[in-house]
Symmetry: C2
Amino acid sequence: MDWRDQVQRPILVVNRERAEANIKAMAEKAARSGVVFRPHFKTHQSAHVADWFAVRGVQAITVSSVRMALYFAAHGWKDITIAFPVNLREIDDINDLANKVNLNLLVLSEAVTEELASRLKTQVGLWIKIDVGYGRTGIPWDRTGEVVKLAAQIVKAEGVQFKGLLTHAGHTYHIHSTTARAEIFKQSAERMQHLRGEMIEAAVIAGAEECAISVGDTPGATAVDSFAGVDEVRPGNFVYFDAQQYRLGSCRETDLAAAVACPVVAVHPERKEVVLYGGAIHLSGQFEMLNSQESESARMYGYVTQANHDGWGEIESENYIRAVSQEHGIARVSEEMCRHVKPGDILCVIPVHSCLAVDLLDTAITTHGDLFSLDL
Amino acid sequence: MDWRDQVQRPILVVNRERAEANIKAMAEKAARSGVVFRPHFKTHQSAHVADWFAVRGVQAITVSSVRMALYFAAHGWKDITIAFPVNLREIDDINDLANKVNLNLLVLSEAVTEELASRLKTQVGLWIKIDVGYGRTGIPWDRTGEVVKLAAQIVKAEGVQFKGLLTHAGHTYHIHSTTARAEIFKQSAERMQHLRGEMIEAAVIAGAEECAISVGDTPGATAVDSFAGVDEVRPGNFVYFDAQQYRLGSCRETDLAAAVACPVVAVHPERKEVVLYGGAIHLSGQFEMLNSQESESARMYGYVTQANHDGWGEIESENYIRAVSQEHGIARVSEEMCRHVKPGDILCVIPVHSCLAVDLLDTAITTHGDLFSLDL
């Protein structure tokens, strides 16, 4: 049966072979580098896809919310890091989780650490969130005293175990040079090594083995040949990649493992545009700016490709979503695509950011026609 | 009990009195104008909020998807227009719906109309979607021959009933002058009246009563004093309004009836920034550009206000979300707010687009503490 026959509304289409190859490549790089591979499961949010990681030996995982942790705990995963600053209002669920799995949390202030420690009923691991230059959150890497002081507090506190330093170097998402991204990976590792050295100097810890270094961004993880310098890697996006990673050079076109299949609902030949059932609530509102070589400088909410029996066709830069509203995606397409497509057909959109599309959609289908849920 | 005590994670907070006042004002304007009030329920997506419309006499509603139509049909609504071009791949659900309720659909091509008519098992109403200048979808208003021909096809077809001409003048969402928005409302009505006149001229219909004119954008509906010139209005956003409508001048600050309550997870006094649990998957990635008077030209993903017992505090333009990632919202705030807020507190974000935030969130709470579901 052709997978396309099962599509009524926007759905994630997954090329399983590509996803498995992406997982294998990253797992092997981590193994070669001698580091813990703790992939971020927020990209796929699926117990079904999680099995593809398990067969590669993955046991430790990263998630972005307490709810996601509860979901994967319910599916048998036993070692979970919630890579988001602790939300004290979820303390009941956190205690519930800590009772069932090895749980690791992120902190960046003494006040939260103190309150957390006083309200926990079971021991959890604590990572200090470091900002190595992204500017989103975490203690800035150069505020050494603050980091050492927080580490000392955690080491002494009851009911929590100090794990180490964790960062997300998200500034790599905007750097098109692979060399420059590899440089950021190296710089992040060095900045955290320096902080670890200061902790040893201050006798907060006895040696490096008491403070792991964890990093986790796909653009950095794909840019380096080895993860030397860190102890743990947490990339997530690489399982599917997306239009953003493809444009960055983090992956080849043949590594793209997910698309959003969207029914065509209208064709406007006079504007060379096609209206898809697939808008901001399916693809997200995230866009890339096309440069002037590709088009007049324009927003691009995803590449539009033909759907075929095996998945989707090649990316052609003239076929893309130029605008989204709640349910509508407005695709600018070539004269040829416009001539051949008709309402009721399916087109496949390579989303700008696969993590967001996965979060928004409720169902996925492999190109072999196997349906699976994306509802946490 | 204070509503804030029930907040663990991002949730929609609804000021019921304001929403009810917004509904009353729009229902009364429609009644005064002698037009059908068929509000768009995609903004609230809730059977609970739908009851607040029912007490104002609303019986006919608009939705944006087949799934939303199924939800409201299951909650007893009997007259539903799906204001999105027919997706032929959902024909089974459409037949299911048509069997239960008075269902109206949108078409803009003869091919879809023909296929739809041949596959329908129960009669549905058909509206022709007209593009009055927005440029999203619909038959352009000046292609008179095409509209008349499609109307003739519908009038003759078995199993469908011609309802009239429907448009969404979405270009009003970018026009800050109330007078100019009122002008677009008038222009839209005139363009559709002209098309109706041509249908009468061509003897496709006998008179105006055989072709209703339906319009539906909140910025236009709030700009005019009377809906004279049309037969039906379908605004939706006005029930809650949002930061975009407030900035446009479609509403007063005291009309804003919904916010997203977000737990604070980190405070960065050195940058005057606060990190909220509330990101792209809660607020959406839609932003407004702040102009140079308000700030350095910057993206704004929502206004940040204090949460209080009765709801939320006043908007101050220096407090806003400057960036979102999947779960994080990065708020730039005043020195004073930064000094007083701490992790575990709640801040309320007035979202840029309330329809999208509602779609993304799964739960709402009124300022009186009544929880209700947003899951369709």
